[in-house]
Symmetry: C2
DNA sequence: AATAATAGTAAACACGTGTTTACCTATTTC
DNA sequence: GAAATAGGTAAACACGTGTTTACTATTATT
C-alpha cells in the first residue's frame, strides 16, 4: 500500500529493454549508447524510480550512511549540537552523497545504549561512525575499530600510532589557552581562577592541563580554592562561581572558564552578587559561542573552527570507508583568541 | 573484510538448530520453549549477531527509521536544533526502537535537494519523515503524503480536514502573544513595536497576525515604522533595531521580538547605542531560549514546550507508520509567559 | 492404545538488486 | 568471405532474511 512498488523489472519492461540494461544505465556502465540511456532514464524519472536500498546493499553495495553518536549525559546544549552536528557533518556527508544517522548516548556504559550502537553497525545500517565525547579507551569504540569499522573521533586522545580505521580530529586546546593566558597576563592579571570542563572528556582534562602548564610556565601559582569543578554546562559555571563567592575568601582578578556556556553562568552569578564584568572581575571563555558577542559585556574567548574540524573529519571518514584507511588520520586544528570586552587591564 | 559476515545460517549451525528456529527466536514466536530460546540466544550474543537490516526489509519488515528534515536557508541556530532535533525527536524515536536520519535542506525548491529527500523515501531508507519549517503548500510534501508516506509537520498550517498520513503539531503562537501583550499593556505600554520572524515560515506569519490582532483587540494601533522585518536570526534583530534607532523618529516604549534570538540582537543594538533595557526600552521575546535567563537583563519571554511538541509528533508519526493514520493528528500545544526583568512599568 | 498437541526440521519461495555467463544480432574491419 | 566488435538479451546466482508448507519425532491427554 505504500508506494507503487516500482522495481527494476518494471522499469525494464516499460522502457522496452532488459533488466540488465537498466542496471547498466543506473550504474554507469560503458557499453550502453546515449540513446538507450536516455530512453531508460526517461522512464526512471517518469515513474520516480529509485533502486531499493536494501536490494543494493544485499547485492554488495554500500549503505552510504554514517552514524553520528553524541555521548552526553547532561542536557545537550544547542550550540554544541550546532557546532558538532551541523557544522558540516550533515552537509559534508550530503555533498558526498552520504546520509547521517543521528543518535544520542546518555550513558556509554548502559548496556541498552551500547546494544543500540552495536546494532547500527552490525545490522549494516551504517558504514562508519563519528563519536563525539567518547572517553579515551572506551571499550565499545575499540571493539568497533577492531571489527573493521571506520570510526571518526573528535575531542579524543590522539593515538600514538597510525591505525587503519581510526580517524582523530582535535582542537589545539593548549595553544588556545596559551594565547588566552598570555593576554590576561599582559593585562597584569596574576590571580587567575579556573572552572574546569567535564573531566570525563578529553578536552576537559586537556584544557585543565593546558591551563596549569601555561600558569606554571609564567611562574604563576594557582590557589587550590580557585580551581573549581565544572562540566561545560552553564549551570555548572553559575554554581561554581556562587561557591567561590560564598566562600568569602580573596577572589581572583580573572576567571578562565572551560567554555563559553560556563562563562555565561559565571557572569550571571557575578551580576546576581552585584559584581560587574570586567570592572570587578575579568572573565574569559572558550569556543566562541554564537551568542558570545551579544552578551554584556561581549565575551573574550578562544575561537574554534568547528566547521573545519567536523567537515574534515566527515570527509576523512568517508574517504576511509571508500578507499580504506591509509590517509592521514590525526589532525589538530589551531585555535585563536578573540578579544572582546570581558577582560580589563588592572594596575600592577 | 568488514565483519565476520555472521548470518542466520551460521547461528543455526552453531546452536545446533534450524534456521527457522533462529528466526522464530528472534521474532518472538510462541512455539519455542525457553530452553531452546536460551541456547540460541547464547550463540547470538556470543557472535554479536544482529539480523542484517537489508535482509529484513527485503523480507517485508520495516526499516524502523524516520527522516528528520530541517528546511533552513540561513545559518541553522543552535537552539533551534537543540529544540527541534533533540527535544525529543531522537530520544523519543530511540525509546520506540527507531532511528533518525537527519538532513538539512537549504532550499526546498532546489532540484538536487528535492531529489535527495525523495531518494530517502523511495529508496526505502525511511518509513516516514518529520519536516521542520516547510512552507504551507510545499509540493514535495503533498506528493509524499499522496504517495502514502507518513509525514509529520511542525510549524505548519493545520489542515482543515483529517488526513490519513499528515500529522501536524503547532505551538499556540497567538495565545502566547496574547499573554505577552496583556502583560506589557498592564505595565502601561501603549507604543509597542514588533520585529517579525521569517514570513516564509508559518510561525512567522502567525506571530505577526497574532500580534496585530492582540493590539487591535485593545484598541492600540501599531505605527508602520515600528513594524520591522526579521527572520528569527539574532543578526536580523540587531539590524532591524539599528535601523529603527538610525531612523531618528520617536521610539516605541516596548519591542516585541519574534523570538529570543532576535531579542538578543535587539538588546545588543540598544546597548551599543547606550540605551538600557528595561530602563529606556522594554524587550520581550518568544521561545525561552536556554540562555535567556542568563542575559542582562534576564529576558521576559513566552515559553514553548519543544519537548512536548517534538516528542508528541515523533510518537504520533511512529504510531501512524505502525498502525496507519487514524489517530488524532492535529495538535496545538499551549504556551505561557515567563516574566523576568526585561520589561519595566512606565508612568501612564 | 489412540489421539492430540508440542517442538522441531528441511526445503522452498519472495523480496530487489548487482553481476556473470552464454548467447544473439547487427555492423564494421581485415 | 571471415573475423571482430558493439549493443544488446535471457537466465541464473548471490546477498540475508521472514514465512509457509509438508513432514517427523516426542510427549501429554483422553
Amino acid at each position: 500500500m505504500k508506494n507503487k512498488e516500482v522495481n527494476s523489472h518494471q522499469i525494464a519492461r516499460l522502457a522496452g529493454v532488459s533488466r540488465s540494461t537498466v542496471s547498466r544505465v543506473i550504474n554507469n556502465y560503458s557499453n550502453v549508447p546515449a540513446e538507450t540511456r536516455e530512453k531508460v532514464m526517461k522512464v526512471i524519472k517518469q515513474y520516480n524510480y529509485f533502486p531499493n536500498l536494501s536490494g543494493q546493499v544485499l547485492a554488495g553495495k554500500s549503505t552510504r550512511t554514517v552514524g553520528l553518536f553524541m555521548i552526553e549525559s547532561g542536557p545537550v546544549s544547542g550550540d554544541m549540537i550546532a557546532n558538532f552536528l551541523l557544522a558540516n557533518v550533515v552537509e559534508t556527508a550530503s555533498s558526498q552523497g552520504y546520509y547521517v544517522l543521528t543518535q544520542i548516548i546518555r550513558d556509554s556504559r548502559d548496556p541498552a545504549a551500547v546494544r543500540s550502537v552495536k546494532e547500527s553497525f552490525y545490522q549494516r545500517r551504517i558504514d562508519g561512525g563519528i563519536f563525539i565525547g567518547a572517553a579515551n579507551h572506551e571499550p565499545l569504540i575499540e571493539e568497533l575499530i577492531a571489527e573493521g569499522f571506520a570510526i571518526g573521533l573528535v575531542d579524543h586522545e590522539l593515538p600514538g600510532r597510525q591505525e587503519p580505521n581510526r580517524i582523530v580530529y582535535n582542537f589545539d586546546n593548549a595553544g588556545g589557552i596559551e594565547q588566552a593566558i598570555d593576554y590576561v597576563v599582559s593585562l597584569n592579571h596574576r590571580h587567575i581562577g579556573v572552572i574546569t570542563g567535564d573531566m570525563k572528556r578529553h578536552s576537559g582534562t586537556e584544557k585543565f592541563r593546558g591551563f596549569m602548564q601555561a600558569m606554571d610556565k609564567r611562574g604563576l601559582t594557582v590557589r587550590p580554592e580557585w580551581i573549581l569543578d565544572g562540566d561545560f554546562d552553564q549551570q555548572s559555571g553559575f554554581t561554581a562561581m556562587e561557591q567561590l563567592l560564598e566562600g568569602g575568601g580573596e577572589l581572583p582578578t580573572a576567571i578562565f572558564a572551560a567554555n563559553d556556556s560556563v562563562a555565561f553562568g559565571v557572569m550571571d552569578a557575578l551580576y546576581k552578587r552585584g559584581l560587574r564584568v570586567p570592572d570587578d572581575i575579568s572573565v574569559i571563555g572558550f569556543d566562541d559561542h554564537s551568542l558570545s558577542a551579544r552578551f554584556q559585556p561581549p565575551l573574550t574567548t578562544v575561537r574554534v573552527d568547528f566547521a573545519a574540524v567536523m567537515g574534515g573529519l566527515t570527509k576523512a571518514l568517508i574517504g576511509c570507508i571508500e578507499h580504506g584507511g591509509d590517509t592521514f588520520n590525526k589532525v589538530t586544528v589551531s585555535t585563536n583568541l578573540v578579544i572582546r570586552e570581558s577582560c580589563k587591564r588592572i594596575p600592577t
